[in-house]
Symmetry: C2
Subunit: 368 residues, 2 copies
């Protein structure tokens, strides 16, 4: 392709390829420096092509949430973690049907999930690793007590070809500014020490302790016993990641290119990226910013409200006045959602559209 960003139809997500490469490099170097296994969550990009870039830089494997993501990733990756309860025979058998050469691990928090994935593993005659998921403060999934967690690990051991492979947690409750996370990280560290000690005492040494997120990415090495981490957002970053200091504004590789389609109503400009292109995601971990995204080159101009195909730029505190037909690039609050809303992403080198790729694992891959 030889066209430029000016020729693209809008709305469309565009990725700065140099920034993407820098983001991939930085996390890979951090993992190497601290001897941590990087197992990125591919929910952010849903692309085998970007997963391959992560693996090339030393990632030990990938993390997925859905069976469709796992299926597509198994084309480029031989070590897949599904960090999602494998509940229901449809989901469990689909996972167990992944290529036998793929090392498969699942994370779970219930006996029902163990029974479902054990039945599927027996039918498929393959080993499946299991992480027992702990709730270390996020209160979403994970066992609240270590006794329950240890009981689940024992149940896994009793159901070959399942294999107890370690413990997992997700620090999704640690979202504040990077320099204000210490109290929660200290609590996490204490919980992790207790968990590892309890599992060891029960004769169930966790070979893997799997945690990590993008907001806590650069603190991962400070958490006792963590052996692998699963950040997702770091490949692209977004307005939230920059606001909490887990990346710089210049590390935001992903924007939505949009066109101003109306300036008829005073004090605002309407762009063609609305809820169906940008998502209605709030900022998280900060009270200092509102709106649903802001302009890459004018971060003070925010998308103040949206309809399905309309985004309203607030011009009340800027002297900038765009004209109908002008194009803008919007940094979204939460990039993972925006990727999921789109089918294709354009890759930019400067202003040149160098390549494009599909959001391959966006759907569910159901056989209806």
């Amino acid at each position: 392709m030889s066209h430029t960003i000016a020729e693209l139809e809008t709305p469309i997500p565009v990725v700065d390829l140099d920034r993407l490469a820098r983001n991939l490099d930085r996390a890979a170097a951090y993992a190497t420096t601290h001897g941590l296994a990087l197992r990125p969550h591919i929910k952010t990009h849903k692309s085998p092509r970007i997963a391959a870039e992560q693996l090339k830089r030393g990632a030990v494997g990938v993390t997925c949430a859905t069976p469709f993501e796992a299926e597509l990733m198994s084309e480029v990756c031989s070590d897949v973690l599904v960090a999602y309860p494998p509940v229901g025979s449809a989901r469990a058998s689909r996972l167990a049907a992944l290529p036998s050469a793929t090392k498969l691990t699942v994370a779970l928090d219930s006996l029902r999930a163990i029974d479902d994935i054990a039945a599927a593993a027996r039918t498929a005659d393959r080993p499946i690793g299991v992480y027992v998921e702990l709730d270390l403060g996020m209160h979403r999934v994970g066992t609240p007590t270590l006794d329950e967690a240890i009981a689940l690990a024992r149940a896994v051991r009793e159901r070959p070809p399942l294999e107890f492979a370690g413990i997992a947690f997700y620090p999704g409750h640690v979202r504040e500014s990077v320099d204000q996370q210490q109290t929660k990280l200290d609590a996490l560290d204490t919980s992790l020490r207790a968990a590892i000690d309890a599992f060891d005492a029960a004769g169930l040494h966790p070979a893997v302790v799997s945690g990590g997120s993008t907001p806590t990415l650069w603190h991962t090495h400070e958490l006792s016993g963590v052996t692998e981490f699963r950040p997702g957002t770091y490949v692209y970053n977004d307005r939230t990641t920059a606001a909490i200091g887990a990346c710089a504004w210049e590390d935001c590789a992903f924007t939505v290119l949009a066109t101003v389609v109306s300036t008829a109503v005073p004090g605002q400009a309407v762009v063609d990226a609305g809820t169906k292109a940008l998502g209605r995601e709030p900022m998280r971990g900060t009270d200092s910013a509102d709106g649903f995204g802001s302009l890459l080159d004018r971060p003070d101009v925010v998308v103040k409200s949206m309809s399905e195909e309309h985004g309203i730029l607030d011009l009340s505190s800027t002297s900038w006045r765009p004209a109908v037909g002008d194009k803008v690039r919007i940094v979204p609050n939460h990039v993972c959602i925006v990727v999921h809303l789109n089918d294709v992403i354009a890759g930019l080198r400067g202003d040149v559209v160098e390549t494009s790729w599909p959001v391959a694992a966006r759907g569910r891959g159901y056989d209806l």
Copy 2:
């Protein structure tokens, strides 16, 4: 297909076909009763198949927002309105490239949009109808003054093969409970009378006065001069539509089928429909309900929070305790967004999966 809802993988949108048919019939009968032209907005279903059902019941044509929607609808419909400013040469030429047998109309509010669509119409050598969009209180797009609107209509007249076809407005600011809309409807009525009088006085009689939405659907005939209406949501309805009284709870045809994947954390149950399946849409027009959706058979149980693939059911005010593996059906707050998040929809007759169809116009159809 002969399988039942119990065999479906989750999360998946499912539509009750009997309720869908009733919703289609009811709006068609209303249009007939009041001599109004029904031109449904297909953003809600994005499906040529459902558009065909609307046309079969007497719809005069369809309304679209995006070029891709217009392209797919032109396969089943010969009269397409794109109620979105045709700004930018890429968008305008794509619209003008619709089959020549398709009657195309656009709505716009700027001279730039007129120039863009006029150039595309000349190149394609086809007539294109134009509605001038008025801002009658929503403050999204549309000219704030009648002088501006009339100037735009004159500019359209001066640029054949464009044809001035009428005026349009969207009453998106009328979202309160149906029985509390009267003040805003009275204001709308006054504005409409003034607009029609002004256009008539300028020698620009608007052959079409196009308005309407699902929240105001059943009041459309009370608005002076309105000749066509463009509701979208009414085909499926949703939690918001029911809450404001524009439909009954039993008219909600669309739900997201989800599986309980964790009950480890007390006081809640986690289902596999999160932001990427349900969307993060607030209730609108009512302060009496929160959360992001509620259960079809237990409307008091709401999705209180979400991650990308997790929805958290609040069990704090119910004695109901689902088990891991149980399935639930969630009525979303805003169905148009949920449709856009999914690739395929299963059609149910009772509990039997009778059919399925793709969300055909979900993407953008870019040629990259």
